[in-house]
Point group: none
Chain length 335, copies 6
Amino acid sequence: MTSPDSAATDARTVRATIVQASTVFYDTPATLDKAERLLAEAAARYGSQLVVFPEAFVGGYPRGSTFGVTIGNRTSEGREQFRKYHASAINVPGPEVDRLAAMAGKYGVYLVMGVIERDGYTLYCTVLFFDSQGQYLGKHRKTMPTALERIIWGFGDGSTIPVFDTPVGKIGAAICWENRMPLLRTAMYGKGIEIYCAPTADSRSIWQASMTHIALEGGCFVLSANQFCRRKDYPPPPGYTFAGTEEDHSPDSVVCAGGSVIISPTGNVLAGPNYEGEALISADLDLGEIPRAKFDFDVVGHYARPEVLSLVVRDHPTKPVTFTSASVNPGGPQP
Amino acid sequence: MTSPDSAATDARTVRATIVQASTVFYDTPATLDKAERLLAEAAARYGSQLVVFPEAFVGGYPRGSTFGVTIGNRTSEGREQFRKYHASAINVPGPEVDRLAAMAGKYGVYLVMGVIERDGYTLYCTVLFFDSQGQYLGKHRKTMPTALERIIWGFGDGSTIPVFDTPVGKIGAAICWENRMPLLRTAMYGKGIEIYCAPTADSRSIWQASMTHIALEGGCFVLSANQFCRRKDYPPPPGYTFAGTEEDHSPDSVVCAGGSVIISPTGNVLAGPNYEGEALISADLDLGEIPRAKFDFDVVGHYARPEVLSLVVRDHPTKPVTFTSASVNPGGPQP
Amino acid sequence: MTSPDSAATDARTVRATIVQASTVFYDTPATLDKAERLLAEAAARYGSQLVVFPEAFVGGYPRGSTFGVTIGNRTSEGREQFRKYHASAINVPGPEVDRLAAMAGKYGVYLVMGVIERDGYTLYCTVLFFDSQGQYLGKHRKTMPTALERIIWGFGDGSTIPVFDTPVGKIGAAICWENRMPLLRTAMYGKGIEIYCAPTADSRSIWQASMTHIALEGGCFVLSANQFCRRKDYPPPPGYTFAGTEEDHSPDSVVCAGGSVIISPTGNVLAGPNYEGEALISADLDLGEIPRAKFDFDVVGHYARPEVLSLVVRDHPTKPVTFTSASVNPGGPQP
Amino acid sequence: MTSPDSAATDARTVRATIVQASTVFYDTPATLDKAERLLAEAAARYGSQLVVFPEAFVGGYPRGSTFGVTIGNRTSEGREQFRKYHASAINVPGPEVDRLAAMAGKYGVYLVMGVIERDGYTLYCTVLFFDSQGQYLGKHRKTMPTALERIIWGFGDGSTIPVFDTPVGKIGAAICWENRMPLLRTAMYGKGIEIYCAPTADSRSIWQASMTHIALEGGCFVLSANQFCRRKDYPPPPGYTFAGTEEDHSPDSVVCAGGSVIISPTGNVLAGPNYEGEALISADLDLGEIPRAKFDFDVVGHYARPEVLSLVVRDHPTKPVTFTSASVNPGGPQP
Amino acid sequence: MTSPDSAATDARTVRATIVQASTVFYDTPATLDKAERLLAEAAARYGSQLVVFPEAFVGGYPRGSTFGVTIGNRTSEGREQFRKYHASAINVPGPEVDRLAAMAGKYGVYLVMGVIERDGYTLYCTVLFFDSQGQYLGKHRKTMPTALERIIWGFGDGSTIPVFDTPVGKIGAAICWENRMPLLRTAMYGKGIEIYCAPTADSRSIWQASMTHIALEGGCFVLSANQFCRRKDYPPPPGYTFAGTEEDHSPDSVVCAGGSVIISPTGNVLAGPNYEGEALISADLDLGEIPRAKFDFDVVGHYARPEVLSLVVRDHPTKPVTFTSASVNPGGPQP
Amino acid sequence: MTSPDSAATDARTVRATIVQASTVFYDTPATLDKAERLLAEAAARYGSQLVVFPEAFVGGYPRGSTFGVTIGNRTSEGREQFRKYHASAINVPGPEVDRLAAMAGKYGVYLVMGVIERDGYTLYCTVLFFDSQGQYLGKHRKTMPTALERIIWGFGDGSTIPVFDTPVGKIGAAICWENRMPLLRTAMYGKGIEIYCAPTADSRSIWQASMTHIALEGGCFVLSANQFCRRKDYPPPPGYTFAGTEEDHSPDSVVCAGGSVIISPTGNVLAGPNYEGEALISADLDLGEIPRAKFDFDVVGHYARPEVLSLVVRDHPTKPVTFTSASVNPGGPQP
């Protein structure tokens, strides 16, 4: 550990790529095809070891939809819209997960993929993790959806806040405004996160402040991946309508402007933010930056005050119904 | 599962038929013959994929009997009545189960059949499940008999509350007033029930309120099957006497008025209730209604609060005597 | 308790009144004035001992609002709308709670009042309980808001699911679609609820089925109180706009049709449902009906199977931050 | 331990009295008055140290009633009958329990009393235990009612099968046909029972065989107390009707013939059986008979084969709803 | 099984005979000859389908012997006495077993025979079962010898507590005071025993109470067979001496008084008890009595509380030495 | 509070000023004079209701000092430097605190002042709070000094993390890199902080990201005050030397560049950052922005998951020595 060689080892560098691209909306097989093309390009052109996709890349982020809901009312059109959205989601595990795992193995990359997960009839905004050997590692379910998302997605519990210790670093993810939750971030800091993935749907410039802050606070690399969507990436009306917006209705009008970015543990922007279009955004992550940054500030180490401030994370699964016989698990495996 | 086609698949429709008919009392072979005629008709006339029979169709519901019991007393006539009732029940597995399985296979329907099960000298009010390939799938034993039923039927345990994942949907059953048990229903919701069968002996109009409520609560189709019995469906006195009733004693007087009904997950009555006579009651179940309804309310998904309220289901078998050698099982197999 | 007289005592009768009326929207003092007028009338005209108001009577149910929210977007108008709604809510305890307590004492009634509770900057849909001596007894916070309500109201925890043992019976409340939650209902059954209040905002006829079912399931009286609102009960545009509705925009058009109802433990409708207008709906509750009904079905007594199905209620308060010194409680007292 | 004196100590003798008498039906205060008169007489005339009353002495055994129940039907008269019966039952703890405790203390006797216990709206057939200092010791709830009793009484769980170690010996109770349950008896043998109380409602001569067998099997004294009731001990019709009996309807006709008996561990009948009328039946219990009998046969000692046959008693309370906060216990304390 | 005829079948009747007779002591071939004579008579005179012999009929019950044992001492005479007793016992399987099987086949009866089994140098008090086709079915070894029996007999394990399902009913056996063991009896109840054989050596009148109790408890027929022995049935002194008795020493003095009895499931004595002499005691067993009795009380069915009280039977063979190669089974076949 | 007027009240506006200025180093009285001048100006020119000073304004931030410390060594010069620094600090309470309180009262402002607090021979980096009536409210001690600060300042405990509920809003403070501590921030969020003061010594541009993030995360106004220091603000060498810097040594060279800023709850920069020189930086804080922002994200309200993630704050004083007599409290009053 202390030889010159080990120092070199500690200072290993990881090539990472963020995918900034749009879902093929309501067409999950085509979305998976697109994911594979992007993954192949990241591997071939950039030699990436780690590829991070945006929130809800598989299944889609139904921006501008209302699902027919107002306070105290629903519509049958909104219910049918949900049925279609539900049908586009994927089971975990399931055939789409198998395909994603195979992709990761084929291109030899660690893959972090935002999906809409179907568990019975409730959906979750989930991030899946795969290793470069083609194995599914586990998942993170968004613990708290934002605003109208709360009517289409359920709430993850404490059992799916993983950090995976991999050869490319300790990897985890928080989704969109979860990144604003200080206790959730601290839970991941407590697990030693080094490569903090932040798949998101927030393309406002103010988002960059939070990404920089988290890199400093956590002493970790932050990789924020957002979709870049134009109107034409969604089905045409009446299959899809944008509610409550007075924006440009032309097919090329930008619906989600991206802003994907890679930031170092000392707060340096390594790549991005990109607000131009679909793109692969890559950077070399010098893992030696982590101890350099933690020397200043180690949020769960020398800079913590555990005798004053302590966080309790209830990370056992919570289910409305549990069966004492072990074999019944209708909701699929937990990581 | 997630292609546009799969959305169409999710919206698949199942033709279901409820049988509203009477047992041939004290004549189990004749009852099975009648079951077969009804099944054949459901398949031929309605093209049914799923057929649900009432509670205790095989073995019979001895309405109006007292079995000679008062508080602190019994009669030898009552004991003899029980002996005959016991003799009309069926073993599970056993030859009658084999015949029912063969019927389901012959007509290519999923079959849900209420029976009186004999396990040694205790009887259970049981529902049997068969697939359209002619296989016996398993059984549900009523967990809590109502009122005087407690002197003729035993109590099922947690090991026989199955929900079967079939091509026509996830099927289970609760019998008569079991349907009033919120924790039992929730156990089935937790297993993902989609087609909730409610074989019953309750023909009061108030029963409809519970059926509608369950459809809404569970976000599932509810199929409630009741017998329609006239006095003449029972043996003449003194072989059979109705106690404590001042009803019409004519052979055509109605003893059980049916009320069988099919309700959608959003609470719409699709067929029935029928209070007129023996009948086959059919409806098309659009399974797409389930996600539409669950969008509003998913009792074990987005509308649950598992960290506050959690149900534990002890679903291992409970037996007064267990033998450590595996092969001794005098009471027949468990599903 | 056990003399022949006590049998008469058990059969005591309680006069109860449900208020079906509209909030004075965005004017909390005027709403409290209206509450007092209605309470006075219930006491004077009907001699009521128990008066139940609808969900969100104080603070209002902002039907038809969207608060400017679509998936992935918000508007500043929506945020301002929330600020006003937040300003109309009440702290618990606080001066409005004191006024309500004084009203209950003045008219000598047990009072169950739906309010919007302000706890810092999060709101809760809450029911307050007061005794006829003018004491505040405690509160129930809705544990799970429905659909768009999830963006304006927080989620109650297990510490506010009270049942109060009073001289007019054991009283508790579940709000609107909480009534569809079987485990929540069972928690209240487990506390022995006898007078089950169901303040609601659901005026569909299908709501009646659930109310009847709950009365049967719980063996309790069900008192469902809903608002009756016309368009003119809300401020005129642009102060208030109804989104996504193609309804009659005349001032007298009905926005919420009521349907308040009182049902006995055996499922008999004692008063209502009223879909005509603002009204006081009264009935005599013969508490002797409870043992008569429980003889048939006691959901947490003789009809339970606790060794198979058991519900765990985590009824300790859950807070994101707790301070080990006892006196710091920024969110107000818990019952 | 081994001195001659200790042998004398071991051979201590206890004076025990069984009360064979009738409830004052539907009049619990009068029944308690009668209990006190009988207790006073047992203490004064016989110097009894231990007095055992029959099953359901307080609350009553409604022999010959049907509560209007037939298979599939109920009557409103039956429900009202239950309401009255429910009103005659007692809460545990409660004022009647306090009175019984005071009686035991006043007359300085260990008291074993059969009661009907009211827990919410479910009743239990319960035996209460009191010490000679006037303390309530605990209770046994009948675990399995017989026949029609199952519609009026709930089922006790494993937490109320106590054996109390007292200066007059180790005392417990099994009620009526519970005495036929070999596993329940063995649970009490396993707790070291020495004075086995068998309050009952079975006056058939065949009952004596079971009492003798239990004395031999358990190596314990058996004290079986039954009521002696005449028709006139019940209210006159229509307040009370005997169903399904062709017996003598005169006021003096015997409804329950007693048969109370005291048997030694070696199977000797020490007093009774008495089939003549109300009576106090007394005997001296030479506790030295217990080791003499166990020398022959010690059912849970030298004559057990625990490596082959072992009984598991789940003696934790089972409740349909549990609250994680300790203080909520609507059902009263558990022994 | 379920036709009206099957009800008749369920009510089938079995003719059973108990043999009350003495071993020809120390002469096993003569004892077998005597057995055959008695069997022939039972078949010819009574048309018996089932014949039950007493405990230790083959090999003998050495009543009155001490085998020279006092606390802390033995004698060489006692050792020689054991050698002779050991020589009179039989191997299982072995030629005497073959002869017994042939007898059963010849007379077409189900045969239940008490024997002394020799397994190496340890003896067991065993009951053998044969079918009417002349097949040996299996054996029961007494699990717990009484008092001094413990110096001449070993202890059976849980692998030899069989219940055989035969055309004449489900048959098993418990020997002498094993019948006092509630867990052993429950093991047999758990296997569904219908014809409960109780070969014994206890001729006290109190034995009848236990037999009646077991019939009621188990809901089964009880057939208790005892030897009737006079002094002259034993060899004359000094070949055989009775220790510690001051009885009549005349050759005709009764050493064991019989008391064999047949009891129905409802506790009715069908034949016996006979205390007069050697005899064949016969009765018709109406198997319909079993469901009639179980209607009242089904010890392992509707009257069990398996979730509270559960018996575990370790019914695998236990041997002091086991060999990992599968084929070693020195003790003969297991049922 | 709930009238339409109260909505206006909720939208009240507060004028706030940040002081960006330098300590008069090693001259505490002169520093207090300077503080008063700045305070007077803020009140007079801007009408400020709230004035916030930088970290260590009184006592000074000894930037560039090493206090003679290297790993394993100290120097006597460093010790003397600490003696002088210790002498410039102030006791709390004490005469300087009284003077500051008087100033606040004189100018009618809420005052938040960074000081170096002397507690015996340990110093703390502390913020003092005063109300506009001239009352000292309490203090916050920096809980975790950064890097070399750890050799001159002690660590604050959990008892000095106050949030004061004042007419200008709920006010608290975190000092410099404490602002990076997510659990400390959450403790203040849990107390309802609305005006979050961040006195600092960090003038890097990256600091702005954290300030913006905190405003969003906490839904609060953030007021970050830093000193603006030139070389000449420190004593000349050798009285003061800057270690390890190759910077411009001219008197006007900037040692600390300020960057003070005011940010709204939605992340808008209201004033600053100023990197130009000493300045008063002012803005109007529209408190209505808080509910508008919390509608989106309420970190301890609707966006928390307390059942998964909960922070425990041990906010009792921790002292190395406590005296059991109650009156000992050497550290001054606690909030």
